[in-house]
Symmetry: C2
Subunit: 325 residues, 2 copies
């Protein structure tokens, strides 16, 4: 499998991450352990842990202890935001399983997310590096801001390119960037390389999310694990649609704007919008835009030695944009 | 006023805390600033900031900079949990004003709480003391666990003394304790005194919450700023009721258990339970129990010099238990 190929240089460490993630997160409150174990165990590509591990490895880190601990934290932080996201979107499913929100209700979900987040901070405090703590604290503030901006633009077709890019930078790229930066910090490389990996993660994250949002409009439910056009159903206006709106001033545009503003959309309306976007070249434009960011990501790998981990990160950049087109 | 008398030695610092709390918490997302400014500005006794400031002052700290910064963080952390609590309890009012949950909905409230919490961590990272970070991280984990335990025992009359004490220790005393500990750490006193203030805050917090929960059953709405018997309405079984259940095995007990288990309670039922608890000596027992913890708190002040801040903390201990009986 593709994932196994790309993540091969840190396969052993990722297995260890997985093992630790499946170990109950101990808490005085049994219900917390139950919820977090359920959510952490119900799949996920573990992209953030892999980025952290590959970054550390590319920078020469080889001890395999702190990096694994911190990779677990990166996944905890990600999952904490997923749990809260599902409350915000009132999502019933997550990765093909009932969401924590659907299974235990919003009350328990709020607390399970809070617990995972504050428990992550405890672990970072034990790890004892202020620069790493700062990287993750900054990323979590950004993720919250990204979510709020997304709410602000909910069902609003007037959203501009820059608003959308800010949202995905905050929501996705900030944590990708923190994971890569942490890999560099654990390995103890110089400031230039720490910054290079921070930028690599940021650009990779933006490219990744652009592609993910484009896929939402064209891939099948089988590929996505969630219904096609799910973002539209949730009132999210993403790059492909923004692009077409920007170039079309006709009657069809007005109609699509009206549908989105009125939401929630019916299935047939989602289909209409999907066709409008793909025929208007929106998906193609989004992929082009993603390529720009991914090229920048690639450039930030230049200062690093040519080793297996670096080749993995390059493959990752490559496969993100090639995956479905 | 009582509050002014007790907090007099740190009045200037508390004013500065208030000023900073009313300054907008800057964020890329305007809505976050709006919500956090609203919630932070809608009252509150600022007990946690005052505890931190008085502890620091009692220990000889006099610079008035770091203590104020950290006192603001203590209030942010407290308010973050209030915002999430209101989602959990589906509360419409908070301190006499519409809650953030009522005004903006649970989606925005989840994120506003997340933002305040992660922004607090950012500030603690800039402050740069791992022991303080650990104190607050441990307190927030405890607060989350306390909330979950409270949910677990929702409308359950079988809850025991120890479960209840664990809940209030986690929910209230942990942050009181972290605030006092932080005061000692900022002042740079020796480990014995740091531990003494940690224990002082813990016992004070348990005593405070015992009294607060007892007041809920006897004080008027005017005093409380929320309806009498509010805990019962929210399905919370507190010390006074646990005490009466423990000593009464009669038919009236069965009837009250049935009412609580069935909830939500009607006004007339709340009144029945209130009478049952007070006539059964539950409130008196809760106050006695509170006195035990407050005596312990008092004892932990022994290692400190006799100064204005210490006398304030002693007054605080005294007034907590004397306030309404």
């Amino acid at each position: 499998m593709l994932r196994e190929l790309v993540f091969a240089p840190v396969a052993k460490e990722l297995e260890e991450v997985e093992r630790r993630i499946h170990t109950r997160v101990l808490s005085r409150a049994d219900l917390i352990s139950e919820v977090t174990t359920y959510v952490l165990g119900s799949g996920g590509k573990r992209v953030r842990p892999a980025l952290l591990l590959l970054s550390a490895r590319m920078c020469g880190y080889n001890a395999g202890e702190r990096d694994v601990d911190l990779a677990v934290v990166a996944e905890y932080m990600h999952v904490a935001t997923l749990i809260h996201d599902d409350i915000i979107d009132n999502a019933q499913k997550r990765r093909g399983h009932p969401s924590a929100n659907a299974r235990w209700g919003p009350h328990v979900s709020v607390l399970a997310g809070d617990f995972l987040y504050s428990h992550s901070i405890q672990r970072l405090v034990s790890d004892g590096d202020f620069r790493i703590l700062k990287a993750f604290a900054d990323a979590t503030v950004a993720m919250t801001e990204g979510e709020i901006l997304e709410l602000k633009w909910h069902r609003n077709p007037d959203i501009l390119y820059q608003d959308y890019i800010t949202i995905i930078t905050c929501k996705t790229a900030a944590l990708f960037s923190a994971a890569c930066r942490t890999g560099a910090l654990v390995a103890g490389v110089d400031e230039t390389r720490v910054e290079a990996l921070t930028e690599f993660g940021l650009n990779l994250g933006i490219g990744f999310q652009l592609v993910d949002d484009a896929l939402d409009l064209v891939a099948s439910e089988e590929v996505l694990g969630k219904p096609v056009g799910n973002d539209l159903l949730e009132g999210k206006v993403t790059y492909p649609l923004i692009h077409v709106f920007h170039h079309d001033r006709g009657a069809e545009r007005d109609e699509v704007c009206r549908l989105i503003g009125n939401g929630p959309l019916r299935e047939v309306e989602v289909e209409t919008i999907r066709r409008y976007v793909t025929e208007g070249g929106g998906v193609k434009a989004a992929v082009e835009e993603a390529r720009k960011y991914l090229r920048k990501a690639q450039e930030h790998l230049a200062p690093f030695p040519d080793n297996a981990a670096r080749r993995s990160l390059e493959m990752l950049v490559h496969f993100i944009v090639e995956r479905e087109w």
